[in-house]
């Protein structure tokens, strides 16, 4: 153990709590929000918060009950291993992954990419870039110029990767990538505009990366749910219906 600094207390360790006085309060180095925000309006949890929670629960219940009254859960004929439907679709929240199967072999789209996504989500709070979250284009001119080069270099590399490594160009990933690249660049082009300059210009790199992930997930899922038909061919839901 290292020497305690002057700010730390040393807890006396022992089995007998009466002989070794127990400290009731240990001030840790961590900072808790209420320490800073004590001087602001507070309300009693009962009734103010509990009432809101009850309303939220009841609103959801009413909404789902109405839905359950007007829309029936699907039930097709009994499971038959001999008769493969075309297309055979996974539950809707996995259709993004199934859509990826169209571009990459199962080991990438079914194992590697979802594994990486879950891993990436889990480690978000342990990276400085997510914790500090400075404005992407904030700082001295030279630093900003360097960051622009890195950022658009990465966009270019990812574009090449998702254009050439799949069986087809992976547009559901490329589209969101280009959208985010344009959105992130707008404050550089038009810093004076109110919405672009002020709001978008204050977003961090973490914001844009997560936005890309989010748009990819939504796009892939929407395509898988609405735009894929027999043999995983591209269909239009308003012309051919939803499979």
């Amino acid at each position: 153990m290292s020497e305690p600094t002057s700010r730390e207390f040393v807890l006396v360790e022992g089995e007998d709590a009466r002989r070794d006085p127990v400290r009731l309060v240990v001030i840790q180095g961590e900072e808790r929000p209420p320490v800073h925000a004590a001087d602001e309006p507070l309300v009693m949890t009962f009734p103010h918060l509990l009432l809101r929670e009850a309303i939220a629960f009841l609103a959801l219940s009413v909404g789902l009950v109405v839905l359950a009254l007007v829309a029936d859960a699907p039930l097709e004929e009994i499971a038959n291993p001999e008769k493969t439907p075309n297309p055979a679709k996974a539950p809707w929240y996995f259709l993004g992954l199934q859509e990826l199967l169209h571009y990459y072999p199962p080991v990438i789209s079914g194992v590697l990419l979802p594994g990486l996504v879950v891993l990436a989500l889990a480690v978000i709070p342990y990276f400085d870039i997510n914790l500090v979250r400075p404005d992407l284009w904030h700082g001295p001119r030279e630093a900003v110029r360097r960051r622009v080069a890195w950022f658009y270099g990465a966009v270019a590399v990812l574009t090449v990767v998702f254009f050439f490594t799949g069986a087809h160009p992976v547009y559901p990933i490329l589209g969101p990538l280009w959208f985010v690249a344009v959105a992130a660049g707008l404050p550089l082009v038009a810093p004076g505009s109110r919405w672009i300059g002020r709001w978008l210009g204050r977003r961090s790199l973490a914001f844009f990366v997560f936005l890309w992930f989010l748009l990819c997930a939504v796009t892939l899922t929407l395509i898988g749910v609405f735009f894929r038909g027999p043999g995983w061919s591209f269909t239009l839901p308003w012309r051919d219906g939803v499979y």
Binding site: A56, L64, K83, P91
Partner: protein
């Protein structure tokens, strides 16, 4: 009426269960939270700007609400369901044509399940954009990712139970992906299915996971999740956000 209420809540038995008086003072309002096992994950007081609807859209409590609805409807469905082939499918038909309000029960369970997947995902998105995973809350975010995975697994295992074509082939597509795991793939798939193809063994495995293992795991993680929010000082508010003024102009109305 007042006398009946007083007699009802003033006697020894009532006071042995509920130890505080009516919520007519802030002390008793605090005790409602403080002395209640189920409510003690809440603080006694809440910051007005933390409970504003537009801050969180109540996505956390809505996710938990969906889970509660699913638990209740799920228990009722268990009374009518046998995880066997072909009984499982026959029970679906019974729910539709024989059981009173059986179709309504199944509808509510299914729509609530879809809603929960969406709500949990939206909750995660909201928490990310708020930056609420920052220290000391890092690990609670990881627990939240675990809860998202559990939610997906719950929904996935439940998807097979009706034993219709939709269920069978959706699970076929899903479990075929497990096949692609290097080296261990076929073994993992065999373990999941209880065989080389989806059959009655799979149905029982998914049933036990869906009704026992996964819900218990979710309740456990959810408890830790909420307890840690409480321990970390309640709802996250960015430190650079200007504090609300004393008369509460940023937090909506408190009656």
């Amino acid at each position: 009426m007042g006398r009946v209420l007083a007699a009802l809540t003033g006697n020894r038995v009532w006071r042995s269960i509920v130890r505080h008086g009516a919520p007519d003072s802030n002390r008793n309002r605090a005790l409602i939270i403080f002395s209640n096992f189920f409510l003690h994950t809440h603080p006694v007081k809440a910051r007005l700007r933390a409970i504003a609807f537009t801050r969180t859209f109540y996505l956390g409590i809505l996710s938990a609400s969906a889970f509660f609805l699913l638990t209740v409807t799920g228990i009722f469905l268990m009374f009518y369901y046998r995880p066997a082939v072909p009984e499982a499918y026959e029970d679906m038909k019974d729910l539709e044509f024989v059981v009173s309000a059986g179709m309504f029960l199944r509808n509510l369970h299914r729509w609530a399940a879809h809603a929960m997947v969406a709500l949990v995902f939206l909750h995660m998105v909201r928490v990310f954009f708020a930056g609420a995973y920052r220290p000391p809350r890092e690990f609670n975010w990881v627990i939240g990712v675990g809860l998202l995975v559990l939610t997906l697994l719950l929904s996935f295992t439940g998807y097979l139970l009706p034993w219709d074509q939709l269920a069978y082939w959706a699970i076929t597509v899903g479990t075929n992906m497990a096949n692609a795991v290097p080296v261990l793939g076929p073994d993992i798939r065999f373990l999941m299915l209880g065989g080389n193809t989806i059959g009655e063994n799979t149905l029982i495995r998914f049933y036990v996971l869906h009704c026992m293992v996964l819900p218990l795991a979710l309740i456990l993680l959810l408890s830790v999740h909420m307890w840690r929010v409480r321990k970390d000082g309640g709802l996250y508010i960015p430190p650079d956000e200007p504090p609300a003024s004393k008369d509460g102009e940023t937090g909506g109305k408190a009656s």
